[in-house]
C-alpha cells in the first residue's frame, strides 16, 4: 500500500568548506530523532537521504542533488509512495505536529521566503541574466527548505536537473560571485517560468529565522509561562538565519528542553 514519505536531508558532506561551516553535523542527529518520532506517530515512511548521486559534494552541493535524487532513490528502494515531503536536516518537528500531508492539494506545497529581503532581492537580480532577464515576481519567492510533492512533480525536478547540468559552469560561477545561496533562486526562477502552481500550509508549519523575529523569547511581562514562543506557536522550527557554527549548540539546547515529549 502506498504511504507518504518524509525525505529527510541528512547528507554529511566531507568537503572542508562544509565541515568548517557545519562542524561535525551533530545537529542532524537531533533533527532525525524528532522526525523519526513524528513519522512513526503519523504512519509516514522516514527516508534518510544520506548519499548524494554526486561524489564531489563540494562542487555539486547536496542542496541541488537532493532534487535530482529524491524520486530516483525512492524508486530504486522500491518504496510505494504517495506524497513526498522533502525537508532540510536543520529542522526540529514539534512532537504533536498534525499530519501536514492531509492539508495538501496536489500542488507543490512550500512557504514564502519572507526574512532577509535584501538577500532575496540581490539573489533575484544576481541570477536574472541566467534566465534571460525574466521578470521575476518576488512576492512568490519560496523557501526550498521544506516542500511537499507528488508523482506529478517528478517532471519539474527532471527539468531542473537538466537545467543544472546544461548550465553547470555558469551556475557554479554565479554561486561564487552572487554569493546568494545555491539551488533556491534558480529553482524559484524555473518554478515561475514553467508556471508551476504552488500552495502553502498555515504559517506555524514552518518558522524560520527564529532569532531575527524574536521567536526565542517568552512573555516576560505576564511571566506565567516561560515556554519560548516558537515552541508554543510553531510546529516546525528551522534553525536558520544565523551563524551556522552556532547551530549544533542551539539545537542541542532546545532538544534537551523538549526531548522528554518524544518518548
Amino acid at each position: 500500500m502506498k504511504k507518504n514519505v518524509l525525505f529527510w536531508i541528512g547528507v554529511k558532506s566531507k568537503s572542508d568548506l562544509m565541515l568548517k561551516k557545519h562542524g561535525q553535523f551533530e545537529y542532524l542527529e537531533i533533527s532525525k530523532l524528532s522526525w523519526k518520532y513524528w513519522c512513526d506517530k503519523n504512519n509516514v515512511i522516514f527516508y534518510e537521504y544520506k548519499e548524494s548521486s554526486e561524489s564531489d559534494t563540494g562542487k555539486h552541493r547536496v542542496t541541488w542533488t537532493r532534487w535530482f535524487d529524491v524520486f530516483n532513490q525512492l524508486n530504486q528502494s522500491n518504496i510505494q509512495y504517495n506524497k513526498i515531503a522533502v525537508i532540510d536536516g536543520h529542522n526540529i518537528v514539534r512532537w504533536d505536529t498534525p499530519n501536514f500531508f492531509n492539508l495538501t492539494n496536489g500542488k507543490i506545497t512550500a512557504f514564502r521566503s519572507l526574512e532577509n529581503l535584501k538577500w532575496l532581492y540581490q539573489a533575484v537580480q544576481g541570477y536574472k541574466k541566467l534566465f534571460n532577464n525574466y521578470e521575476f515576481d518576488t512576492t512568490k519567492y519560496i523557501s526550498t527548505g521544506f516542500q511537499i510533492f507528488d508523482k506529478d512533480h517528478e517532471k519539474f525536478l527532471l527539468e531542473l536537473k537538466n537545467f543544472y547540468y546544461e548550465n553547470n559552469q555558469k551556475i557554479l560561477e554565479l554561486q561564487k560571485t552572487v554569493h546568494r545561496g545555491t539551488d533556491q533562486t534558480p529553482y524559484n526562477y524555473l518554478l515561475q517560468i514553467k508556471n508551476i502552481k504552488v500552495d502553502s500550509l498555515p504559517a506555524p508549519y514552518l518558522l524560520t529565522h527564529l532569532n531575527r523575529f524574536d521567536w526565542f523569547k517568552y512573555n516576560w511581562q505576564l511571566n506565567e509561562d516561560k515556554t519560548p514562543y516558537f515552541i508554543k506557536y510553531g510546529y516546525i522550527w528551522a534553525f536558520s538565519g544565523f551563524d551556522r557554527t552556532l547551530r549544533n549548540d542551539l539545537m542541542k539546547q532546545v532538544w534537551d528542553s523538549v526531548k522528554h515529549k518524544y518518548e
Binding site: 524574536d214 512573555n219 511581562q221
Partner: protein, 246 residues
C-alpha cells in the same frame, strides 16, 4: 458620486515631540497617488478628544463619523498611518478588497506581537483567540460602509473602558488601537482578507531593506516606517519622497 477615500490622522502629540515632523512626506505621497487613482484624501488635523484622554491612533476609528459629518459621499475607505509612503505606481488597492475588511499581517518582532495578543487576551478578551498569523497591523486598513457599526462599537468600547485601556497601554506598551481592533474583528466575526506584505511593509529594518539604496521601493508598494528611531524615520521618509519625485 461616491468616491474611495484615503484617511490619515495627522496630529502632533506632546508625549512624542517631533514625531509628526515627517508626516508631510506621507501626505504628499498619498495626495499624488489619490490624484492618479481618482480617490479623495481626507486628513484629520484637529483633535476630537484631548491627548490625555485619547491618543492620535485612536482617532482613526472616527473615520466614518468624520466623513458623515463633513458630508463626504464615500464608498471604500483606506485608513493609513502618517508614517507610511505609497509608491506612485502602486496599483489601485481598492480593486483588491472583494468588499471585505482588509489588512496586512503584523510582521516583525513576535515577542512584541505575542505579548500584545496574550496580554490583551488575559486582561480584556479572555474568551477570544487571535492566532498570531492572523494578527494584523493597523497601519493600513481597508473597510467600507458596512463596517460603520463595527467602528462605532469599538469607539463605545473605548469610551466605556478608557481607564482600563489606557492602563494596559501604559503598563505593557504593546500597542494602542491595534490589539483592540484585532480582538474586535474576531469577536464580531468580521470577514477579513489578508493582503501581502507589499501592501504594508512594516519593520523594514528587520527585513534588511531600509537602506540608502531604498531597496524597499523595488519590492513593494506601501512603506511603513515603524520600529525605528525618530531621526532615522525623518531621514528615510524625506529621502524616499525625494527619490520617488513626489
Amino acid at each position: 458620486m461616491s468616491k474611495n477615500i484615503v484617511f490619515i490622522v495627522n496630529l502632533s502629540e506632546d508625549k512624542k515631540p517631533g514625531r509628526d515632523k515627517p508626516y508631510d512626506y506621507s501626505i504628499k505621497s498619498w495626495e499624488y497617488w489619490c490624484d492618479i487613482n481618482d480617490c479623495e484624501l481626507f486628513v484629520l488635523t484637529n483633535r476630537i478628544y484631548p491627548e490625555d484622554y485619547m491618543n492620535a491612533n485612536w482617532h482613526k476609528l472616527f473615520v466614518f463619523q468624520l466623513l458623515d459629518s463633513s458630508g463626504v459621499d464615500y464608498n471604500q475607505v483606506l485608513i493609513v498611518d502618517a508614517d507610511t509612503i505609497i509608491h506612485p505606481d502602486a496599483p489601485d488597492i481598492f480593486k483588491l478588497t472583494d468588499d471585505k475588511f482588509c489588512a496586512v499581517r503584523s510582521y516583525g518582532s513576535y515577542d512584541w506581537m505575542c505579548r500584545s495578543i496574550e496580554n490583551y487576551k488575559k486582561h480584556m478578551f479572555p474568551d477570544i483567540n487571535v492566532p498570531y498569523f492572523e494578527y494584523f497591523n493597523s497601519g493600513v486598513i481597508l473597510c467600507n460602509k458596512k463596517h460603520k457599526k463595527f467602528y462605532e462599537k469599538i469607539i463605545n468600547f473605548y469610551l466605556t473602558n478608557r481607564e482600563n485601556i489606557v492602563k494596559l497601554q501604559e503598563t505593557y506598551q504593546v500597542g494602542t488601537d491595534q490589539p483592540i481592533l484585532n480582538f474586535f474583528v474576531k469577536q464580531e466575526n468580521i470577514e477579513y482578507k489578508q493582503f501581502d506584505y507589499e501592501w504594508n511593509m512594516q519593520d523594514m529594518n528587520r527585513f534588511e531593506i531600509l537602506d540608502d539604496e531604498l531597496t524597499f521601493t523595488k519590492l513593494g508598494w506601501i512603506y511603513h516606517f515603524n520600529g525605528i528611531p525618530d531621526d532615522l524615520r525623518n531621514y528615510m521618509m524625506k529621502k524616499t519622497q525625494e527619490e520617488l519625485n513626489l
